[in-house]
Point group: C2
Chain length 382, copies 2
């Protein structure tokens, strides 16, 4: 099988072999419905309890604060719609660079009388302090600010924001899907009311994510029914995926510091090379994830370059994967004030556990070659 | 490993070996995000397209009518809340024996001004014709009637109901989660506007289900975000689960007639034996699934018997698995007018592809022995 070099770890990750190993029995002889009272059901229930404890431990939360869902998108929707459903319509504020699965459910709330407000970011993709204060002064009921951006990798100081939000009487949620496994993510020390995480971004399977939730929050379920997950998320639990999520969380926590160190060295090397070949690295002046480089080359179309890199054996992204069916330029870059023309040239390389120094060197060489070709083509065309 | 005889196929089913085989590559080297434009992403997208075609073919639907979700509970919630969100609040009617994942989202709509109405069933668990007509006369906007009940196995003549519902101007949804693989399920000939199915009830994996949806219906997504599934269900697709679902649908369709014939013979044998030992079989006079027996023995508690059967090596259910954390008697039986005391004694045995004549004979013998013991105990206690 043709196996290109995978440089799109922010989109999804391969299953860690240890995670896969832990999942397989639950796709085989251990097939019980966790709500069943018999032996098969009890085995499944025990496995979910153990996974919940692992996820909680990795996140500095209590197991009873972990609500399993089918993934990060569901967990974000669950928080936003679930909290709003039990409140009088008010204001919901979120950063202008949130993932669509935060922005869209917030916008859906307008039908129920809610007002939405985006909070501006600066040219580096960091929350604009003045606009943050202005937003809180408008007394939002719900606020959502992501811990790390999926495209630029920019980190927000969510712990500091949490203090402000609490003082302003808002429920603060943070989408930590991209942060988990790459930087420290501790529910208690972040001080947020709710946190979203996802398994498939950290070597775990598709089909599992969680909302970590302060128990003082009341939440209407998005999926109501059999009453699983303390009534907050009904539906037969995906045991194999939840088991895999637990193991992936444990591994991610154990490896995080070493991996972050290793990847940041590779990332820095890659950036040096990109800059040499005329690239602009977005948010280079901001605290960022150790594995993410979001960049553009003037006059070169990102889509075209991604397609050429793909044929040359490198898998990377031209925008966030979830919206790449959409030809619109990155909303993150537009929010940072980057011109639409430049934003259309953007390319994201995200490194991960399988990435080697050789992968990065080969990518850099191919990138240099392809951009030269494209530049010459452009020159000829003019 | 201790492997009791599994007689709880309506709760969940083991993965069919062919399904597992088809899934494994997607838990290994084929790990792309289906929204990614590179080789890994394109492979995942092609696999989802193929699975969608298989599911559609098995259900007599067009691939574009299949909306993948994380399971049956999500699909039911998606239909009910999704349709209601885009309408003026009105009446939603559903049969009194619907699964909680239909009843609960409907009840949640009351917060938005909707009225809910249950449609009565008769003592056999069939929709009460007079009440069905009365319900339609109240001009419901949305109606939901399951194709087969999860506990009794009772079938409703949904094709006939569809004609009535259409004439009354209602959107008709049918939960076909328990019907699929056991009786013919054809979207077009049923004539409903929407249909829910689930993978893990037919030898497919947990984590995949679908809402089959007439495209004239507008639906607000339950999970909004990246715009997957034509914008109706965002979130990175669970490729392995969806691939498994496709294969499971194909196998279920190919095997259905033979399996139904085989299982109904075993079921009839089992019922004869249960009746001999003083059991009452619920809905025995109604058209039912070929694999399901829901019964009770006067003076014996269902929970106690399930626990004893479990220790004796038989896995069966005392109520619907999804609500068995709940000690309330079966709402299906209560709706049928069964006394709470009798309903508490209820036991469900559901057969499946792995069930043999020997399994049934051994179960019947053990059941006879245990009920005799329990009756003697009761006699002594009196």
């Amino acid at each position: 099988m043709f196996a290109p070099t995978y440089l799109d770890w922010n989109a999804t990750t391969p299953l860690d072999p240890a995670v896969r190993e832990a999942m397989l029995p639950w796709l085989d002889a251990r097939y019980g419905n966790a709500s069943s009272r018999h032996e098969y059901g009890r085995q499944a229930r025990a496995a979910i309890d153990e996974a919940r404890a692992r996820v909680a431990a990795a996140l500095g939360a209590h197991p009873t604060e972990v609500v399993f869902a089918s993934g990060g998108s569901e967990a974000n929707n669950l928080f936003i719609k679930g909290v709003a459903a039990l409140m009088k319509p008010g204001l919901i504020a979120y950063s202008a660079i949130e993932h669509p699965c935060v922005r869209e459910p917030a916008r859906q709330l307008r039908r129920q009388g809610w007002t939405v407000r985006e909070i501006a970011v600066d040219g580096q993709g960091r929350l604009d302090v003045a606009d943050w204060r202005a937003a809180l002064a408008e007394r939002p009921a719900i606020v959502s600010v992501m811990l790390a951006n999926n495209e630029t990798g920019v980190l927000q100081d969510v712990a500091a924001l949490a203090g402000d939000a609490r003082a302003a009487g808002a429920w603060l949620h943070s989408d930590a899907v991209q942060a988990l496994g790459k930087i420290a993510v501790d529910f208690r020390s972040l001080g947020v009311h709710a946190l979203t995480v996802s398994a498939h971004k950290i070597g775990g399977p598709l089909g599992a994510g969680a909302l970590v939730l302060d128990k003082q929050l009341e939440l209407a379920p998005l999926i109501a029914g059999g009453g699983q997950e303390r009534g907050l998320r009904s539906g037969t639990e995906n045991v194999a995926a939840i088991v895999g999520f637990g193991v992936a969380c444990e591994l991610a926590a154990a490896r995080r510091e070493d991996e972050a160190q290793r990847l940041s060295v590779l990332r820095d090397e890659l950036e040096r090379s990109l800059l040499e070949h005329g690239a602009t690295v977005f948010s280079a002046g901001s605290a960022r994830l150790p594995n993410t480089v979001f960049f553009a080359v003037d006059g070169i179309d990102g889509e075209t370059l991604v397609a050429k890199l793909d044929r040359a054996g490198f898998a990377c992204a031209s925008g966030s994967a979830c919206s790449s069916a959409n030809p619109e330029p990155s909303h993150t870059l537009l929010a940072m004030g980057v011109a639409a023309q430049t934003a259309r040239g953007a390319l994201r390389v995200s490194l991960g556990r399988g990435t080697t120094a050789d992968d990065v060197a080969r990518f850099a060489a191919t990138f240099a070659q392809l951009t030269n070709e494209l530049k010459n083509l452009t020159a000829v065309a003019v």
